[in-house]
């Protein structure tokens, strides 16, 4: 059983951090410039987030577009939670098969540094929603 209650819970937490990243006056323009589309397929609970950084849109579940994204990533929702709390080493997670990635590695490497300053913001989202349990679950 994963740490998120259901897909809605994933969208409220993980989805929210993407929305805040796009809206952020400092990070937003950088993600827009990178102009990537990324589709995240999460397991446990099964959920899908599609982020169009160029247009500044985040789509969830049934609402995700059919267009093939530049990058596809697959992982447990728990591991996404750990990633956003700065507790998941991506190289090791890929080596262990916990994270699967398809698409341009250089594009991915361009985006990764933008995530780091958002770890604290994600933790704040969780705390604000009374979800300290998710922080504790990340270890």
């Amino acid at each position: 059983m994963g740490v998120f209650r259901d897909a809605r819970d994933v969208y409220d937490c993980i989805g929210k951090i993407f929305e805040e990243a796009i809206a952020d006056p400092e990070i937003g323009p950088k993600t827009k410039e990178a102009g990537l589309t990324i589709r995240f397929n999460f397991d446990d609970p099964e959920s899908v987030i599609y982020v169009d950084f160029a247009e500044g849109n985040v789509f969830f579940g049934d609402g995700v577009p059919d267009t093939e994204p530049a990058i596809r990533m697959g992982m447990k929702a728990d591991d996404a939670n750990r990633f956003w709390l700065g507790k998941l080493n991506l190289v090791m997670a890929m080596a262990k098969g916990q994270v699967r990635a398809k698409g341009s590695v250089p594009e991915m490497l361009k985006m990764l540094p933008l995530a780091k300053p958002l770890y604290a913001r994600y933790a704040a989202i969780l705390r604000g929603a009374g979800r300290d349990d998710l922080i504790r679950a990340a270890g």
């Binding site: 080493n89 090791m92 490497l109």
Partner: protein, 412 residues
Amino acid sequence: MERAFDDVDISTLGFWELSAEERDARLAVLRKERPVSWQRPAEGMATLPGRDGPGYWAVTHHAGVVTVSRDPETYSSAQGFQLEDVPEEILEAAGSFLGMDHPRHTKLRRLVSVAFSPRRVRALEDSIAARAKKLVDDLLERGEGDFVEVVSKPLPSATFAEMMGVGEEDRERVTGLANDMVAWNDPDVLQGRDGLTLLMETLVGLYAEASALSDRRRAEPADDILTGLVSAEVDGERLTDEEIAAFFVLLSVAANDTTRQTISHGMRALCRFPDQRQLLASDLERHLPGAVEEIIRWATPVMTFRRTATRDTELDGTPISAGEKVVMFYVSANRDETVFADPWRFDITRQAEHVGFGGGGPHFCLGAALARSMLRSIFAELVTRAPTLKLGEPRFLVGNFIQGISAMPYRV
């Protein structure tokens, strides 16, 4: 103030595609006229487009490389160690203590340094000599083939694997990944991939190996480096899987991609300078230590490493500002005519000290004694037992980090 880049440009990939002699013709100008020169950002496939910095200081003379190596407080390793601006995520995953300063560097390096001590290396000498003998048996029996595959690659690969705790069945795979990892600018290895994809793929591959091997060693401890790492503590804490994996990447690259190249370049030098080959064969005991040092100077398998200035300073009269990149060109320092007379002459009787394992200081090559032991063993065998060995044209690795020979035909 915008600073002009040096007229002698050593930053293009085209420069690194030149032959060693052609490259050195340019480096020689810098050594003589501007041993510390300001260069535009290095081209390369490990750099994200648009993410390179303003440029770097190229240190091309012997004295400068020694100074920078021995002053880690002024020249930090913790803000990148490659000539290119490799993304931080990759450096962190691959560099371990190579990309750290004191005190973390000292603590992590100490965990493995005992395995490379002269005493431990002496204890390995018999098995290294036996392995070298067997490889030359094989070389003679085959009569012809690829010198790199038959001799240069297997000796360090097997020695490292045994010390580290990599089983026979995993050896080929680990060596292959380590060899590919340093080939991020080589079109033959890339096969259409970009350099960052290659780096990420090989990193993930080596992490997977490290993770599986660490799990095995936790269950079945043995007398090897990995067992030491999974049980080691630093500041009262066990190393994380990621730290062990980064160690594994660093050591497998350091072990597999240096001695291998030195053996190939050394054999090539002995063939190109038959008088030196003859001299060595005439009195092996007397000349072997000097020959090994000259082979290391000649080969310079690691061509460049970078530091970052931690404060405003001056090197050889050139002011350097805090935060600026400083790149040591070992490949040039080892041809410095003020230290090595007639530097393009291979001379096993030289006395001058090369910077083949770095120029001293805390990052001096941990495996130096081990490498010397392997080189002594293999060249003693090759010189005495394969006197008719001839080499064909090598295929050189393209890149700005490892001076490599990917393949080189031989015949006896």
